[in-house]
Symmetry: C2
Subunit: 340 residues, 2 copies
Amino acid sequence: MRFFPEFGDDFLRLLESLEGKRIAVLGHLRPDADCLGSQVALCRLLMERGIEAVCVNFHPVPRALRLMVGDTPFFLADDFDAEGWTAVTVDCADIIRIGDYLREKFPHIYANIDHHISNPAYAERNLIDPTAAATGEVLAGLMFDLGLPVDVVSAQAMYVAIATDTGMFRYESITPRVFEIAAELLRRGASPSLTASWLFENEPFGKIELLRLFLESVQKSCDGRLCYGVLPLGCFSETGTTKEDAEGFVDYTRDVAGVDIGLVLEEYEPGKTKGSFRANSSGLRVDLLAIELGGGGHATAAGFNQPLSLKEFLPKVEAAVAEHLKQYDAGALLPVATST
Amino acid sequence: MRFFPEFGDDFLRLLESLEGKRIAVLGHLRPDADCLGSQVALCRLLMERGIEAVCVNFHPVPRALRLMVGDTPFFLADDFDAEGWTAVTVDCADIIRIGDYLREKFPHIYANIDHHISNPAYAERNLIDPTAAATGEVLAGLMFDLGLPVDVVSAQAMYVAIATDTGMFRYESITPRVFEIAAELLRRGASPSLTASWLFENEPFGKIELLRLFLESVQKSCDGRLCYGVLPLGCFSETGTTKEDAEGFVDYTRDVAGVDIGLVLEEYEPGKTKGSFRANSSGLRVDLLAIELGGGGHATAAGFNQPLSLKEFLPKVEAAVAEHLKQYDAGALLPVATST
């Protein structure tokens, strides 16, 4: 049985075409575990085949994922001279996702490996499978299909990629293939408990206080169908935490019984507020709501920025959600096929 | 390939021996999802084979798991006349786990299906595999191995059993077999996103306030190696929540960087305090710590009761943990093979 029978030949030809080149494996802005894990796996595979390869990102590897990259060569865009290097992107739904700085350095993208349905195939060679729950799933499946070597660092990195991009095996995007690939990654040395310890068991003590502050602000609105919480100005410095530590807080609002849409609002500078929506089903189309507020995203997860203080913006966002829910109730929102 | 080749014949003979009997599938006190999911799957399998079968528990099915049992017949011990029924336990590590009331009703246990390493094989027929991460894994694997029918209710119930008993796929107990069985359960209709919505997306609004109260109390002790939080007397009625809603709060204490042992303390009646330990590795043997305080449990998760107020008990537990960590540092605690 093969996991991605339709892409095996393409991937093998792509690998062959990279021989003799120097490969920069690029990830997206604010790289997440699927991006970084895919970079790790592809870079190590190329190196194993005798191809010179490095990973390049605009933003640094977040604290929780530093152990995941292991000894894989990672460079910040600022420190990297792109002259003579060929660019391959992973997990970048759009070329703008690598950031303006890297786009200038790499005006030509040779190959593009991804799982986002919205990916417009912007490279010379494109390998995009929107049926996969993670780019790490595509790479792992292809490496197993073709009998390519997967070392323990790559196995663990692709496992973390899949685990996080499926919300720790919780999203609609999960298929039997996801679990079969996870089983095979465990055989190659990936560890679910190590993954959990990296992702969840090394929290700064200040996060307890940050979460307490956030929960204190949580309120319901729109007849209990919107639930929102606030990260007040200065909360990170006050608690000795960073933005990273507030990731996932929106789930506390979304998980309340009866709530359709969860929302976190953060006044990150005086007079500037950003927000993050999470919906309980893709039919709620919070991407459209975010577009209306100057942002964008997925049907169940989307965000925006507003040049307003929290106080000024709050009544506006409540009104926008109320109107959006009215349209939803009237069946006026189109469903979408989604891939996160 | 078979998942449990060593148990297939035993299981088939057990099923044959149940023909013509009326079977009460018993679960343990305060049943969790592995217990209930295993009861659902075994009961439905027996019914499908024309065997009269029901599930019986001392405590009711918790709110979050009511949809999981579907139309499977569940009875409370109080409402059940045991005369003429044959008892089969699932997920009960010890016969005392069914509770005194059910023990009196069923002095003889015919069969015992479980995955706990400590299970003393108390029944006439015993099918215990401590290499499995969940009793639901044993049952699902055997049903697949033997080509027995698995309907969508059973598939979903066994999926929830496995997902929860592995801490949503996070524990050391996870093997490639866990993921392979999960893949097969998805093919039979189990849904990870439905599971998440049952378990996490239907929280009472009062839980936000309960968690806020709890986080306000969180402190570090023992040079930062113990982190504890308190559920004060009356906190559930004040916030309109129940004990169920505080499940998992101990993880907030355990997940702090540098912490070896997390602890939640609850003064549940004036002058009566109970506690729950979680350790970051099985070498920390919090089961021994709990035994010392009049309780017991697993190497990484254990609990106890004390006839003292929170205020009286707090210095005692801090001293006990400090002494225990000293022994741990000195290498004086024996490691154990564990199965949760």
